[in-house]
Symmetry: C2
Subunit: 226 residues, 2 copies
Amino acid sequence: MPRKNPSPDKREDALSRERIIEAAITLLDTSGESGLTFRALADALATGAGAIYWHIAHKNDLLTAVCDAVIARTLQAAGGAGAATPHATVRAIALAVFEAIDAHPWVGSALTQAPGQLPHVRLLEHIGQQVRQLGVPEATQWVVACTLVNYMVGVGGQNAANAQFARQEGIERDGFLASMANTWLALDADEFGFTRSMATCLRTHDDRADFLTGIDLILRGIATED
Amino acid sequence: MPRKNPSPDKREDALSRERIIEAAITLLDTSGESGLTFRALADALATGAGAIYWHIAHKNDLLTAVCDAVIARTLQAAGGAGAATPHATVRAIALAVFEAIDAHPWVGSALTQAPGQLPHVRLLEHIGQQVRQLGVPEATQWVVACTLVNYMVGVGGQNAANAQFARQEGIERDGFLASMANTWLALDADEFGFTRSMATCLRTHDDRADFLTGIDLILRGIATED
DNA sequence: ACCTGAACACCGTTCAAGT
DNA sequence: ACCTGAACACCGTTCAAGT
């Protein structure tokens, strides 16, 4: 009777792309972006470092695959909801992606570094279908869908960077924002008047709400188009 | 009479933060993101690798500083224009940043990896001032300015990633897009209907124009707000 | 105060050799 | 066909030692 514990003791199944991707996900979630190493991954899989190269071309390939696995699941889960209007569906998709990046910050940076690859294509497809539903004329569907996707990925990347910075600094989000707000307040009053006046907003803002407001802004811009 | 050639022969001035930053910029422009190495940088400055650490805390510090130098110059040059309307000024700033990233792709990824740092603050300030001019109510200035900045940085990061990918693949932009378009056309017809129909757009689109259309969408969303 | 350069503790990737 | 693990060619960073 084979043991069911897949811990780093000994391998029971053969290696496979899927097994590697799953191990990479848990490794990334556990030790962060810098924790994903071919050596550490090989350890977790109870194999040699070079073995991975039989299934994965190079580290970027792995990163994209791992990102795609999360995005695919996220979109699948979000698609099931079936919101009332295209507008609401776009919002639901955007929020789901935001939550996924919040839970796995490394997805944000992977997404930023692999434009046009499969994870991106999935986003474009899901968003694009709703853009069609919105009645956007065919000639502008491309640019509208791209704007939404670019915005989503852009914010996601920023949040990922924030999370990674806070992690390696060992700081909580609140402390991180508070110290940044202080830095802003110490800026030159003439040159950085606007930024200084936004220091409180920085400290008290809600990432999620702001992100969705941005989505709404773009959607409203679309609706006004003629 | 001292020689005026600052080539990698021998150093004449003392090292300084500015000299290091300038050398890093030319190195990045010449050899790309992966070309910026403390060893290569030390060579270019005719010094030892460790000397740089007297002036720069760590590589991320250098990257942010180098990014900020470009952004500061870009915004200064763009600010001089003095466009007629706030809308036009936002467009001008956005375009200037786009061009800067196009000329120095590494600025795009540096920008993505340093949220809240000085380069970001500069963008926020310049955009925010125009958001005020647009008459956006105080309560929503924060989220509006952030949306614009996030979008700009997001698109910039994507373009940087594209440029870097094309560089290391040794491919031109056109060939890169053409092969990606073919990949899209080979996707499953049911699952990726929208994406397939956009393959031609991918191949023929204009990055700059699409980017500005996105800015316009957001600005129009703001105008419609009430 | 500032610089030098060897040394340390890592990386991704390759590849002969095994099964 | 698939795996092993040592070896290669790098990294960022540190630090005793120099000036």
